[in-house]
Symmetry: C2
Amino acid sequence: MPGQKFASRAPQNPAGFANWLVFAFLSGIETRYNAPMKLLTSFALLLFSFAAVPAQQAAPAPYAAKTLNELRTIQRAALKSDYALNQTAYLSNNIGPRMSGSLQAQRAVEYVAEEMRRLGLEVRLQKVMVPHWVRGVETGELTEFPGMAKGTTQKIVLTALGGSVATPATGLTAEVVVVNNFAELEALGHKGVEGKIVLFNNKFDSELADSGFGLQAYGMAVAYRGGGASAAARLGAVAALVRSAGASQDRLAHTGAMRYDPKVTKIPSAAVTYEDADLIAYLARMGAVKIRLVLTPQTLPDTVGYNVIADLKGSERPDEIVIVSGHLDSWDLGTGAIDDACGVAVAMQVPFLLKQLDLRPKRTIRVVAWMDEELGGTGGATYALEEAANIAKHVATVESDLGASHPIGILYSAKPEMARFLAPISDVLRSQGAPLAESRPGGVGSDTGELSRQGVPSFAPYFNTQTYFKYHHTAADTFDKIDPKNLAEVGSLTAVLTYALADSQQPLPR
Amino acid sequence: MPGQKFASRAPQNPAGFANWLVFAFLSGIETRYNAPMKLLTSFALLLFSFAAVPAQQAAPAPYAAKTLNELRTIQRAALKSDYALNQTAYLSNNIGPRMSGSLQAQRAVEYVAEEMRRLGLEVRLQKVMVPHWVRGVETGELTEFPGMAKGTTQKIVLTALGGSVATPATGLTAEVVVVNNFAELEALGHKGVEGKIVLFNNKFDSELADSGFGLQAYGMAVAYRGGGASAAARLGAVAALVRSAGASQDRLAHTGAMRYDPKVTKIPSAAVTYEDADLIAYLARMGAVKIRLVLTPQTLPDTVGYNVIADLKGSERPDEIVIVSGHLDSWDLGTGAIDDACGVAVAMQVPFLLKQLDLRPKRTIRVVAWMDEELGGTGGATYALEEAANIAKHVATVESDLGASHPIGILYSAKPEMARFLAPISDVLRSQGAPLAESRPGGVGSDTGELSRQGVPSFAPYFNTQTYFKYHHTAADTFDKIDPKNLAEVGSLTAVLTYALADSQQPLPR
C-alpha cells in the first residue's frame, strides 16, 4: 500500500501532525487508517482552523495604533499644504533647467541644502563626479526632397540626444534612409546604410501608454534612442535620427540619454519630433531626401556635482534609514518641473510636515536629492558605492520620478511579506483615491536601483503616466504642468508611506 | 366710428381684398359691416387658407430634382475621394511653408495652376503686390530674475509677429512689465512703461473656444497681438511681447500679423508661449525681471505674388460666378496644413469631382487659391478691386479657412431668404453630421470679405474650432493634424454647397 510509507512519515508534534493531516486529507493520501482516518482528519482540520485564527491575531501588527493615527494626521496636513508646490515652483521657475554639471544644478544643490538645514535636518553634500555635456546649436533642414521649390529648404525640428558627439560646425549633409526597427536596419546591410543618415521611425506606443503601461511603452522606444546610433554606425551610417521616445503631438522633440558602443565609431544622434519623422518617411517613399544637420554639443571633462543628503534622525533606531527622494538634475530644454522638481519637492515636504506636526519616527528619514539621474546615473551609483558597508541599515527607499499626476497607489519591489506592511497604508490612502499596492520585481526607482539590487525594498508613487510621457524631456516640461491638487496627493502619499516605513514597530521584510 | 375710414380703404381686387380681410380680422378692426362682417371674414379666411397652399407650392423650388439627385452623387463621391487629402499632403509636405513673397508660395501657385489646367479649367494668375517679411533669428532669455543662479540665463520660447521690426542685431535688454489688458497698461502710464518691455498677458479664452466660440476667443486675443506694440510704444516701451493668441499648451508660440500705428514709433514685437508668459508673470511678482531679445526679421520691398483663378465654365449662365476658395499662403513656422492647404485642397476637389462625375452646373464655378491672406490680405483686396465692375455677377463665395475638423454645417452671410436655398443642402449634409445652417452678419471669409461687404453672399464650412486654435500659426500646423475622414467631410460639404449654389434654378437672394 503506498499509503503506508506516507503514514510512517507522520510528524510527532501536535501542530506538525495537524498540518500533516490537512496535507494528507487534501492530497487524498491513502493511509493504513484509511476509512477511520477520514473522520479523524476532518475533526483535526476543524481544530486546526480554530487554532490558526489566534495564531494570525498574535502575529505582531506592523504599526502601533498611535502610528496609524499619525498617518491620518500627516495625510490631512499634506493635502492642505502648499510647501511642495512652492518648492517645485522655485526649483523650476526661479532656478530653471538643472543639467548635470551646470551652474543651475549647483544652485539647486545649495538651495535644497539650505532649505533642509532651515528645517533642522543634518545635511551633507555627497560629492559625485558627473558627466558634463552641453547642448549647442541644433538645426536640421531638408535640402533635397521630391517637389521641393528650387532654392528652398524645409526646416526639421530636432534636438541632440544627451551624450551625442557633434557634427562638423558647418554641418553634415547626407541622404536619409528610414527604418522602423533594428530588423529593417540589418536587412538593409552595409550597402544600404553606408554614408547615410538613418532615421529610426519606431513609434512610441501611445495606446499602450494610455492604457496605464507608459513605462513599458517608454522602454520599447528607448531602445532606439539609447542604442540606435551605434547600431547605425556599425553599418557605416554618418548620423542617426530617432523618432522621439515620447507621446508629444505638438512638434516637441524629446531629448534623453544615449550611449555609444565603445567598439564602434561615434556618430551624431538627435531626436526628431513625430511630425518630422512622419514628414521624412512620407517624402522618402517618393524619392531621395537629403538632410543637413548642424549639431554642436560639447562633452566637457567630468565635473563635480553633489547628492544632497539630509537626515531627520530617528528616535529609537537612528542607525536605520528610510530614504525618501527625487532627482535634482533635469534636462535643459524645459525647466524640469515634472522631471523631477516635483519629486524632490515631495521628498522635502516630508520633514517639513513632520516638523510642523511635531512628529519623529523611530528610524531616520533621509531626504536625498539625487544628482545626475538623467545623463549618467552617477549620483545613485556613488551613493550605493560609498554606503556599501551600510546597506543592511537601509530598510527602504522611496523615489518619485514619474511626474505628479493623480497617484493611484504605491509601487514596490520587495518580499511578498511586504504586502502586510502596505495594507494599513493603503487603507489610509484609499480616501484620496490611491488604494493600490502593486509589486514590481527589479526595483521601482532609477537612483535607488543599485540599493534595490542589493536587497533594499524600494517604493514609488504609482501613476497613470499618460501626461508624463507627453511632456517629459521636452521644452514643455514646465511648472504649469503641475496640477496643485494632484501634487498635494503625491505629497500626502509620499509622507504617509515614508513615515509608516520609518515608524513601523516590526522590522521590514527583506 | 374709426372703423369707417379703414373700411373705405378696402382693396378692390379679390386677392387684395382677402388679405385685407385677414388683416382686418386679426387686427380686430371695426368696420361698418361690423357684426355680419365677422362671419364673412371667417369664410374669406378659410378660402384664403386654401388659396395660400397652392400659392406656396407654386413658389419655384431653388433646385431641380435632378440637381438634388446630383448633390447626393457628389456627396458619395467626395466622401470616398482622397484627392483633397493628397493635395493637402503635397502642398504642406512637398512644398512646405508658403509665406507671402517666398519661393515656396510661388511654387505653390505654379502647382495649383498646373493641376487646375490638367483638370481642363481656364486658368489665369492674378498679379498681387504682396508684403515680403522674412523671419530671422529669434531668441529670448531672462538675464535677471529673483533666484537666478549667477552666470546663468533662462531661455524664453518666442516668435516674432509678422510685420515686426527687428531689435538691434546684438539684441535689446530691458526690464519687463506685465499687464493683463490695455486698461492696466494705461494705468501704468508713461512713467511705468518708458524704457521697458511690455508683456501683454491676456489669456486666450480656451473655455470659450472649447464651447464652440473659437473665433470670438481668437478675436479677443488678437486685439493684443495686432495693436499691443503701438499701444506700448505710445507710452515709451522699447518692445512688446504678447501671450500667444491661441490655445496651445505645449510651449508652442503662435505667430500672426501685427500692425503699426503710423504715428507711433515702431518697436519689435513677438509672441511668447503661454508657459513663458506664466513664468515671466510669476517671476515679475517676486522682483525685477530683465529680458534680452534678439529678433532679426526683415521687411523687404513688396513683391509680386498671384491669386490662382481657375474657371469651370457654367452651361447656362457662364457669366455668373460662384467662387470656391482657400488661401495658398501660410505662416512659416509649420507647413500650413490646417491653415490653409486643406482649404485650397477642398476647393480644388470641386472641379475634380465634377469632371469625374461628368457634371457641369449652370453657373461658372471659380476656384480661387488666394495669395497673402495671412500678412496683408492683398489677394482678396486686389481681386475685389479688379472685379469692381463685375461684382453683380458674383452670386456667391465659399471659403474654407478654419482647418479640417468635423464640419457641423454651413455658416453664411446673406439675406434671410437664403435659408430657403440652404435647407435642401442641409438635408443632404445631415447624413454626414453637418445639418446646421447658421447665419452670421458681416461675412464668413477673410479673403472674400470685401466681396461680402459689397453684397455678395458668403459661405463657409462651420466647424468646432477647438483643434484649429491649438495649432494654427504654430510649428505644429503640419500634415499629420489632418484627419482623413474629417477632411473628406469638409470636401463633401464644400462640393455639395458649391454645386448647389452654381446649379440653382432660381437666382440667389442678395
